[in-house]
Amino acid sequence: MSAVLQETGVPPATARRTGEVILDLKKISLSFGGVKALTDISFDVREHEIRAIIGPNGAGKSSMLNVINGVYHPQQGEIVYRGVPRRGMNTYDAARSGIARTFQNIALFKGMTVLDNIMTGRNLKMKSNFLLQALYWGPAQREEMAHRREVEKVIDFLEIQHIRKTPVGRLPYGLQKRVELGRALAAQPEILLLDEPMAGMNVEEKQDMCRFILDVNDQFGTTIVLIEHDMGVVMDISDRVVVLDYGRKIADGTPDEVRSSQDVINAYLGVAH
């Protein structure tokens, strides 16, 4: 249906190097009062892959991410992360064990500058205690500088040098999304959860964003779980796609398989692509 997709003649993403299953979600169910956000969902994520989650609005995609990094605790099911099964994550452990994410409704720290926002991403890697930091001297300062160097790499990578010292509240939406990605990247995560990173961007900006995501995936081998409504993007860059509808999984497979599934067409795409 979408004009863009109709014009495409692009070959599907070729199978790429992906590794072991790093995250395995088993029969996850989550409900809020009467609302069943997720029902009995199972899927896995392999190392180094780009895994997309798609589905209509309110299908439970964001809730899924929230379950993965411990913001929500599923009523049923099990999360196996790096071979360790658990009932649910908690946010701190998730962050510690290398899960970072961005949010659908931007969750940046509005009162801080871009640099500071990204620096918070390195919080878990900072060792010196607050007394040393208060003195801002010796090891504390050295540590601060070392992390600053890392963060500058992220800033360079995302090409946001010019807004380094701007308070994020003043930035336009698209740049805020980029900063949020930067904050997640600064943590050097193993799994990166991205919730609609390209919403509200025009094509050019989406192209940039895709490039960042692909580069992260290529260069650092970061596993990526991605929610996105732009089918062009999803079909082009993801390795495997899960489709949710009304809290249920209706399809799971390569972009091509998903694209041709009748269920998916009915529930989400509207028209065959």
Binding site: Q133, A134, Q141, E144, M145, R149, A187
Partner: protein
């Protein structure tokens, strides 16, 4: 010379992370220190010291403490005077009961006691937020002052509950003259302000601000809410505690628990809001505003020889109106106003 950063290149991250990145600012700060430490003691009158500068510095310190908690960590509190009281009464007892203890150490210990109380009363902040928390911190205010009046041991069994701060002696030097007390206060306050500045520009500070701006997101990043909030309470109370001790030792001399009443808590809150929530400089500007403006209005009213009963009420009204006026002009406080002025100056003579 224009106020401008052009031509000032930073060649290291350390240079870029300085407190004042622009050379003119650094020179300005240096000059300010020079004035505060050298020129003021030479020129100021005892009145300026003991009625304006010393209370201004002490209030700045308390405001700084509250600003750490409210401005940086986002936990609105109406109990700062209580922490000041703890600091003062604890220091008093340390000096009283441990003969020969250095006064500065007593201040630090007093601050630590305040920090402990702060942690205890900070616990609810893990669940309670915003104005609910603010109202709940009033519990601290009333409870602590109540304890001070109820536990005679704390006031050394003085029949009226009033304590008389001991003489400040450091290395045998007695701080008696207003100028010497001023210098001592100034030294303590500047050192603590520097520490505070360092904290807020390094990881602790960023964690506080993250919790303030969006606690859920902060958690996801791996910031531990409990630790961060309680640390903010502790540090903030420490600052307030030391300020409280100075209030007793370097300013009033003799105090009753009532001196640390709700009114004082509110005044400190006013300071940070007027000065700028989440700004070290703002704490100082706010304290100056709240301390100086009534004095100024009082002087003006009497210079105009208004009838006294009218003058006092008019003062109150003008004070209220000015608060509103400043908020309308700049909701982020005097510190932000200052910043805007600097930004304009940097562009000057171009408008944008």
């Amino acid at each position: 010379m224009y106020y401008r950063e052009a031509g000032q290149f930073k060649t290291s991250y350390a240079a870029d992370s300085r407190i004042f990145t622009i050379r003119q600012d650094r020179t300005g700060m240096l000059l300010l220190c020079l004035v505060a430490f050298v020129l003021v003691p030479l020129w100021a009158s005892p009145y300026t010291f003991s009625a304006i500068l010393i209370p201004f510095l002490i209030f700045s310190l308390a405001a700084l403490g509250l600003n750490i908690l409210t401005g940086y960590a986002g936990q609105l509190s109406l109990g700062s005077a209580a922490f000041m009281a703890v600091g003062a009464f604890a220091s008093y007892n340390f000096v009283l009961r441990i003969p020969g203890i250095p006064v500065l150490l007593a201040f630090v210990l007093g601050g630590l006691c305040a920090a402990l109380v702060g942690i205890a009363f900070g616990l609810p902040s893990l669940r309670i937020r915003g104005f609910y928390l603010a109202a709940a911190t009033l519990a601290t205010q009333f409870f602590v002052v109540w304890c001070m009046t109820k536990i005679p041991w704390l006031t050394n069994y003085s029949s009226s509950g009033v304590i008389t701060a001991q003489q400040i002696v450091i290395f045998g030097y007695q701080f008696i003259t207003p100028a010497s007390k001023y210098l001592l206060t100034l030294a303590i306050v500047s050192a603590m302000a520097l520490l505070a500045k360092n904290m807020v520009r390094s990881n602790v500070g960023r964690s506080w601000m993250a919790v303030r701006d969006m606690d859920v997101a902060a958690e996801v990043i791996g910031i531990r809410l409990m630790r961060t909030k309680l640390l903010a309470f502790a540090v903030s109370s420490f600052y307030c505690g030391v300020a409280g001790a100075l209030y007793a030792y370097a300013y009033l001399g003799t105090v009753e628990p009532e001196a640390y009443n709700l009114d004082l808590s509110f005044r400190i809150l006013f300071m940070i809001i007027i000065g700028g929530v989440g700004s070290i400089l703002g704490s100082f500007l706010g304290a100056a505003f709240i301390v100086l403006l009534p004095i100024l209005l009082n002087v003006i009213a009497h210079a105009l020889s208004l009838p006294t009963s009218v003058a006092s009420n008019l003062e109150l009204m003008v004070f209220g109106a000015l608060i509103i006026f400043f908020l309308i002009v700049e909701p982020h406080g005097l510190a932000r106003l200052w910043q805007i002025a600097k930004e304009k100056l940097r562009l000057w003579p171009f408008p944008h």
